[in-house]
Amino acid sequence: MNDIIIAILRSGTPLIYVTLAGVIAQRAGVWNLGLEGIMIIGACATILGIMMTNSFVMAIVIAMALCVLASVLLWFVIEKLKANPIIAGLGLTGLGIGGTALAVEAIFGSQATVSAPFGVPKLGPAFGSYGVLSIFVVAMPFVVFGMWVLLRRTRFGLQLAACGEHPFAARSVGANPARMRLIALAIGGVLCAIGGAELAGGSLQFFAQGMTSGRGFMAFAAVIFGAAHPVGATFAALFFAVVGALGIRAQLMFGDKVPHDLLQALPYLATIFGVWLSGKLRGGAKAAGTFAELKDQ
């Protein structure tokens, strides 16, 4: 049982941090498809940062700074240059994946995996089998709670949601949607940095090319699945982690009887089923209608 919990927490935590970044952006009205790119920047910067500064704190600060910078770039392009947020987000993802590869190549002369001497601090043996968990895993529930408070229990959170849902309403109470989105994306940058750091440094302690492997997009799916609610999306991300783990289990149990490709498809099928079910529970096709034309006036 412990093993299962640990495994789920480990695979779920990076996803959850990035999902929260997606949630805050979504609520502020930005479809952030750059999550993948920002996350990999966080992963790369953490490992390289540890190698260079030999300090975890310095490394995570560098990672956060770079991720916030990437987020701000996205904000600038969307908000100031009025670019299409989806395309710009995908562009940022490409920039993150290519940029980290190029950086590794430029620094080490090869694209091979780079390992750091240590990673994110762990709980340590005092906690028994949970000792292998990193502090970011432990912090995760608190961060989720914090995000829930920020988004659902403060005036700031309400104004942020108003900026996403009805910018004119937000403006008419004096909130500045552009600035709110900047704040949301910057906070998202910090969260993505943590997500990336946890992915690369939580238990692996190395950076490999493209190691986010679509987790940013899964996080985005979790945002949609969880209806941009911090807790809902967290559970959606956890759901992805659980079905991922079950998919592996299925391969180990039935791999000799059922084609592996089919077994690997199970998490995706489960996701489709989950989204279908949650859509049904939320009231079917009617509820899916959005306020598409609720534009800033």
Partner: protein
């Protein structure tokens, strides 16, 4: 018209800006930036045969992108083009396998029909889920892409596997030459004709039929067309099916044209590029053609660059990404600049 030209100029300015930015970064990282810029132009449009190569990549992208445009117009964020493209190619490959030995004039059309049906089916289920139970199409189509890639692995290393040699290739058996619609260069009158027909038909559908007008109205405000007596599910499902069928058609072209087979993991970014093209083109059919040629050129240049300028694969990703980041920018300083001082708001 003036607006269109303006927006093309604007895009070009931002693309140039992105390229210069990349060049600066690469120069800084120790690569030869002027050579890079030159190679892009060469690779895309200037060197002999470059136009053909650009078109080779552009035409299937165009077909998929037009389809993507249809479903986006109808208000569905169907990002499943990649999966629909794969499933189309898979269906066509099965058709080709089963009909092997038949006369080309039967087999080729049958493959195309099979491919379009495959693509359409792969769009149909997310469409049904969306329209019947409100299941978010972003997630279902994204999952559909993953599923289709797995299916491709499965069929190319299972039922359709090429048994030649030691049987270690994850790809289907090469198609008989008689069934190919182009050589491996991928440009033939047939393919051009298909693209032109698709372009014309889709242009007519979008701009000259009641369906086109109503579907985009429904995409912007479904409630309003419902009050006009439209069946939303009919409009919605048709757009899903059309976009899937077109992606499937593109998959079939890749199979029967340049590739002559399907291989595990082939053209993995086709769908995303098509979405990019559709959005950059603002979903207009003519715009899609223009933008597809631009991206075709880019694809062609991306294969040329690492060879001529010695850039690593990552650098190519960066160039593509920077272009994506900036290509839809519409800062009004460009307009201000173009109007030379004219006041604009």
């Amino acid at each position: 018209m003036k607006d269109r030209i303006l927006s093309i100029i604007r895009s070009l300015i931002f693309v140039a800006f992105a390229l210069v930015l990349c060049a600066a970064v690469f120069q800084f990282a120790g690569y030869n930036a002027p050579l890079m810029l030159g190679s892009i132009a060469d690779g895309a449009f200037l060197r002999p045969g470059a136009m053909e190569q650009s078109l080779r990549w552009a035409l299937p992208l165009f077909i998929t992108a037009v389809g993507v445009g249809i479903s986006f117009r109808a208000g569905f964020f169907n990002i499943g083009a990649q999966g629909q493209f794969y499933v189309g190619a898979i269906f066509a490959a099965f058709a080709a396998e089963w009909l092997k030995g038949g006369p080309a004039f039967v087999v080729i059309p049958a493959c195309f029909i099979a491919g379009m049906i495959g693509g359409a089916l792969w769009a149909l289920w997310p469409g049904l889920l969306k329209l019947r139970s409100g299941t978010d199409e972003v997630i279902t189509t994204l999952m559909g892409n993953f599923l289709a890639s797995l299916l491709l692995v499965y069929v190319t290393s299972g039922p359709l596997k090429d048994p030649s040699g030691s049987g270690q290739q994850a790809s289907s058996r090469p198609l008989d030459a008689a069934y190919r619609i182009s050589n491996s260069l991928g440009l033939s009158p047939t393919i051009i004709a298909i693209a032109v027909v698709v372009g014309i038909v889709m242009w007519l559908l979008v701009n000259r039929t009641a369906f086109g007008v109503l579907a985009s109205l429904a995409g912007r405000n479904g409630t309003m067309v419902q009050w006009q007596g439209a069946k939303l599910w009919q409009l919605g499902l048709s757009s899903f099916i059309i976009s899937g069928a077109l992606a499937g058609l593109a998959g079939t072209i890749e199979l029967m044209g340049p590739n002559g087979r399907i291989a595990s993991g082939f053209l993995p970014t086709h769908g995303f590029t098509a979405i990019l093209i559709a959005l950059v083109a603002n979903l207009s059919v003519v715009g899609t053609a223009v933008v597809a040629i631009f991206f075709g050129g880019l694809a062609s240049a991306a294969l040329y660059l690492p060879i001529m300028a010695g850039l690593p694969a990552a650098a190519i990703d960066i160039i593509n990404a920077a272009i994506a980041l900036f290509i839809t920018a519409r800062s009004n300083f460009v307009e201000k600049f173009l109007r030379l001082g004219g006041r604009s708001q």
